[in-house]
């Protein structure tokens, strides 16, 4: 009997949520293209962090060609010490990309915890926690970052501290809003009735359902952290030599813009391409994972 029933049905393949999202993402050309650009840039950063030689020169190796423009020998030209700019830009991706992802990680951990507590507890705790975020959120990010980052100390730690401090609040608000909505659903009531404690309900039932919007928000956190780092480094309040990020390279290039525009141009191009790709990917992911809040239609 069973065999005859099965014969009439198409075999249904189980599709995971990730697979489903990816299939939908493929249908948005700009986002799909951006996805691969992001992968490529991250791959470059990882390989460079692992010490794989991606360029014939090392990032701090002085050659005899001082301040030459782009050529076959030096794809992006060289700086005033004869260091190959291509090698330096590739090396710089390490720090820029890492800062973007670490900031997103901090935003995820801090923001989700804070937002989950606020949203799940509700009531007075929620009002208190969110009032704090509202005040801090209304301050301009760059102002806070300059104040905190410079005072904590220049360097990678200082800038990560400053970026982390401003970036988690958006995630916290988002998670709180999601949880406030989700906790009224029936499956939460069922979980409560079956005797599960608050922590389990948040971790197993609420957060997994809120993951879509969170991932979208984090996709936008990475490029904004990269932009902030490069901007701070550019005005001399972020990283500085001997650290090497796209921001410090651009900052060095700015001083000789008049005669050697390539020194500013190439690092800027990499910042732009990376941030643009993340933004396009984020727009695409929003359509795929979080259709209710999308900014773009059609």
């Amino acid at each position: 009997m069973t065999a005859s029933i099965d014969a009439g049905l198409e075999p249904v393949k189980a599709v995971s949520r990730v697979e489903l999202a990816f299939t939908r993402l493929r249908k948005i050309p700009s986002a799909y293209f951006a996805f691969w650009v992001v992968c490529l840039i991250c791959l470059l950063a990882i390989l460079s962090a692992l010490g794989v030689p991606l360029s014939p020169y090392s990032f701090d190796q002085a050659t005899d060609d001082l301040l030459v423009g782009p050529s076959l020998k030096h794809l992006m030209g060289t700086d005033e010490l004869g260091r190959d700019l291509f090698a330096r830009v590739i090396y710089g991706s390490r720090l820029s990309i890492a800062i973007g992802f670490v900031t997103a990680g901090v935003a995820f951990l801090l923001g989700t915890t804070y937002g989950a507590i606020s949203g799940y507890c509700g009531g007075k705790i929620d009002t208190l926690l969110m009032r704090g975020v509202d005040i801090a959120y209304s301050l301009p990010d760059l102002l806070v970052m300059i104040l905190v980052g410079v005072l904590v100390g220049k360097g990678t730690f200082g800038i990560l501290f400053a970026l982390g401090l401003v970036s988690w609040m958006g995630t916290a608000r988002l998670v709180r809003a999601q949880l406030l909505q989700l906790k009224e659903e029936e499956f939460v009531e069922a979980a409560k009735a079956s005797g599960q404690d608050g922590f389990t309900i948040v971790m197993k039932h609420l957060l997994p359902n809120a993951m879509g919007p969170i991932i979208v928000a984090l996709t936008f956190t990475v490029p904004s952290a990269i932009l902030s780092e490069s901007t701070l480094s550019f005005i001399g309040l972020g990283l500085s030599a001997p650290e090497c990020s796209w921001g410090t390279l651009a900052s060095d290039g700015w001083r000789s813009l008049r005669s050697y525009p390539h020194l500013l141009g190439f690092p800027s191009l990499f910042i732009f391409m990376t941030v643009l790709s993340f933004n396009c990917l984020g727009d695409g992911l929003r359509d795929v994972l979080d259709p209710r809040t999308r900014l773009f239609k059609g």
Partner: protein
Amino acid sequence: MLALLIKRMLTSIPVLLVVATLTFFLMRAVPGGPFDADKNLPPAIVANLNAKYQLDKPVAQQYVIYLSRLAKGDLGISYKYINRTVSDILSEAIPVSVQLGFTALLLAVIIGVPLGTLAAVNRGSWLDVTAMFISTAGISVPGFVIGAFLIFIFGIWLKVLPVALWESPWHMILPSLTLAFSPAAYLARLTRASVLEVLEKDWVRTARSKGLSHWATVLKHTLRNALVPVVTVLGPLTAILITGSFVVEYLYAIPGMGRFFVTAVTNRDYDLIMGTTLVFAAILIVTNAIVDVAYQVLDPRMKVEG
């Protein structure tokens, strides 16, 4: 409306006090003082300087001294710009930054809103695709790249516009454009999304079926409603323009607040940091209050509780 404004102004005093307190203790909590950079000063002179500016007293006492001076309207003096008071510096810097900020805001609205509207009305056309690509690119470019690009094209290559200082209207063109670029892109995206949403409403269909012309429908029935979210972001946007001006003032050597703030933070010029931070906070409060009033004008149904 007047009551709302007065209430807003009164509640802003505790907010300013919180900002002042946080900034004050944050500054003192970290190592380094205003006279550390002058390496050649003998310790006795540094001690004398600290005593003169009352920096040798306990932090809590310094805080009380600062607040009592602040209550009298005295913002203190700069430790780095010799013989200049903070009020003196600020009174020169604020008009520059406000001019720059508002010119940029105006440019951003003039460019962004029509671009977004055109894109939405011609949805799916090449105009839409181009406008949206430009605006996505626009929010992805760091301000310093736009600035450097404009300086290179107009200042170095074509040599038609001045690229530094803040003297004639000609000096304002490049900095304002630089500052306006990404807000314009952002506004275009926002306006497009908002207009698209309103275009689907019933009253727009009604207006169309009454035989109203295309542009009358768009301008009178769609845009006014679609602009509510746009007005909402103008408050934060003004804040972005003020903070964005750190970079622009650095690029174009403009003597505005952003520049003084950045040098003050680097120099640990305590009173100047406090002064600029408080002015930034005050500007934020005022713009947010203006936005709340603007809401009620645009959409009288909205009741804003101060």
